[in-house]
């Protein structure tokens, strides 16, 4: 797994080979595994490890990016040269802003050693228990149990240096009956918080309680949606909250920021620091992420 020290060493090499006016490098690595089951057996079981170096070069307001997944000196040199060569080949863009300088980041602790070390056997035994729960009620289970870790550093020639490491885990399960199904899922940087058995029980209960559903005529009904279903609806709007989308007039929020577009009981917040959240405290340019109120009492307050 990439360490901050190793990421800094790689960036030193990038600076050695980059002749651009400004240079930014995103250096990352991942080690990830996923155990997948369906029809009450484990049918796919995978693991991967890999790294990435992405160099952004700016030469006279001309910008380009080149990436590789090799960290040897020759690859670093070639990647820098490719980014600079690409940048030089295009017309200048007056909208290119200078890269930010050093920033201060709020600490988030999202790396859990036990999650990083989760083994195929532990995932398989969990799958076996969940399958047993399905079979107890004549259901068929399908799902995944995944775990891993990633690390990412973002550095630039103006002195910005950011590094974040995090573990990831997910358990999701679909319980299928003859005429019904139930689904449940949880993700967390800490695999101890997943509780796959409880998720399996929840999914099984939904499948059992919704057996032999009746058809209802199309029409307007009052419905209660589970949190994941709410996210499915709201999630389609997230890209429209992007400032660039609004600026380019391809967002449904174009000309509507400040308006009451939702009910007064609707509040939406972008908060990477929420205890249930995951992710780095900096964005893709190395700027510190902030808590943002996007919708307050139904009024669209801002975009990101």
């Amino acid at each position: 797994m990439l360490t901050r020290q190793r990421a800094e060493e790689i960036f030193e090499q990038v600076l050695k080979y980059s002749t651009a006016e400004e240079t930014e490098a995103i250096i990352s690595s991942i080690a990830y595994a996923l155990t997948r089951f369906a029809n009450n057996i484990i049918h796919q079981n995978v693991a991967e490890e890999g790294g990435s170096l992405s160099v952004r070069a700016v030469v006279d307001r001309r910008m380009a990016r080149a990436s590789t997944n090799r960290f040897d000196e020759a690859a670093i040199r070639q990647t820098c040269e490719a980014a600079i060569a690409l940048a030089r080949l295009q017309p200048p863009d007056p909208d290119v802003l200078p890269m930010p300088g050093p920033q201060t980041f709020r600490a988030v602790h999202r790396f859990h050693k036990e999650t990083a070390k989760l083994t195929p056997r532990v995932r398989a035994e969990t799958a076996r228990r969940v399958i047993a729960r399905a079979e107890k009620d004549g259901l068929t289970a399908a799902g995944v149990f995944s775990s891993g870790a990633f690390a990412a550093g973002l550095f630039n020639s103006r002195g910005l240096a950011a590094f974040h490491e995090e573990t990831i885990s997910e358990f999701s399960v679909t319980m299928l009956g003859q005429s019904s199904s139930g689904w449940a899922k949880k993700t967390s940087p800490n695999s101890r918080e997943l509780d796959p058995d409880a998720l399996a029980e929840h999914a099984a209960r939904k499948a059992l309680e919704s057996r032999e559903p009746r058809e209802v005529a199309p029409g307007k009904y009052t419905v209660i949606l589970e949190p994941s279903a709410v996210l499915d609806l709201l999630g389609y709007l997230f890209s429209d909250f992007g400032g660039l989308a609004v600026y380019e007039q391809r967002s449904c929020l174009t000309g509507r920021v400040g308006q009451q577009l939702f009910g007064p009981n609707i509040n939406v917040r972008d908060d990477v620091y929420h205890p249930l959240q995951a992710g780095a405290p900096f964005d893709g340019e190395g700027m510190p992420r902030q808590r943002l109120i996007l919708v307050e009492k139904g009024v669209v307050k801002r975009v990101v």
Partner: protein, 485 residues
Amino acid sequence: MKDFAHRALDTAQARGASYADVRVIGIRQRYLSTKNGHPAQVREAESFGLGIRVIAEGAWGFAATDDLNRPSVDRTAAQAVAIARASALAKKDDIRLAPEEKIVDRWAGPCRIDPFTVPVSTCVDLLLKVDAELRAVQGVTLAEALMDFRRIEQLFVSSLGSEIYQVKTQTGTGFVATSFHENEIQRRSYPNSFGGQYQTKGYELVEELDLASNARRIAEEAVALHRADQCPSGVKDIILGSAQLGLQIHESIGHPIELDRVLGAEANFAGMSFLTLEKLGQLKYASDIVNVVADATPAHGPGLGTFAFDDEGVPAQCTPIIKNGLFVGYLTSRETAAAVGQARSSGAMRAEGWNRIPLIRMTNVSLLAGQGRLAELIASTDDGIYMETNRSWSIDDRRYNFQFGTEIGWEIKGGKITRMLKNPTYAGITTEFWNSCDAICGLESWVLWGTPNCGKGQPMQTMGTGHGASPARFRRVQVGVAYSE
């Protein structure tokens, strides 16, 4: 490539794998895009790595690494075997693979002009020329154009003794004119939406598509859509343009015929299929004039689903899917072929890259051409709507109920195009829809479209698929559903 591949194979077998295959892959990509007069994304990427798939104790394991040295390759092969042994804790029967022969071969896909030798400045200049044409039309608020080039080199080796080297070059290009006016967003794309047209060929695709000559027309249509009438609601005859029909095929034929989906392998993610096994050879999927194949062979054309061998080392094949309206074939793998009584895989196993396992994926799932021209088809339609270029899609997780929206439509009355229509949508049930097909245009208007980013699997992977289609007519289809009162 070869040394690492064979070393991984040897290590896996020494550790107890009864079967193993290895893919060592190098991918190079160049992506260029412009937006409103400026370069937007200009990037190059390369990725090299090795993935090994094994059967040990009767179950699957897979591991991948981009750290290509002997200790790492050994470790990765051993990891794959350990994962397989863990899988065996929750198996019912040992995996059995349909037999295959050892193959030693090489193949290179078509590429007349290597896109990586075309100067970047030439590409960006063309994109900016298209951009200028688009923004010359008043009312266009966003002009976007792109080119996307990939070269994929793959070495496949297996414990059968196979050793197959394949090289593919893929090119994608297109542009979009977006117009925002009074809270309404309209857009028109050329030659197709969501990235444009993609094929397994070189820069010659860009030349063939003549982007700049089509830009003004497309931009004018984007703006004109604001003034167009809303597509009416009701039951209508519709004619789908070739590109929209390509996506219709993808969603309502290509996906449900993936046998792993039918058997439940994707139940937790991509969904299942209404095409349960007893329907094979029995279900009247479409009208008598509809014939669909899944054809990966180079003879079918330079589609995104064209190759010589799949990612299990099985030769590319042409598999009949719908014959004179009858459902006759699935996409299968070595593991699933027996489930439908086949002695051999149909060669449809494909992986996104070195770090993903192969899954059953579409190859080139195409509607065979019929007869006649689009103009004749329109002239023979008394009351209908011609719809072009996909804008949105929605289909249930068994691929049975669907709703699609297109960018533009034209009303047909008495065999003539009358008014332009905006926000056209149509909905249907897959088998009812395909059984309502009563005319398919001929080869002259048949295009092998590319869908570059079909998603499936956990972890997710994307895949390019090809879909050949000519415009076709469907009778009595529910239209205008999304905007009805």
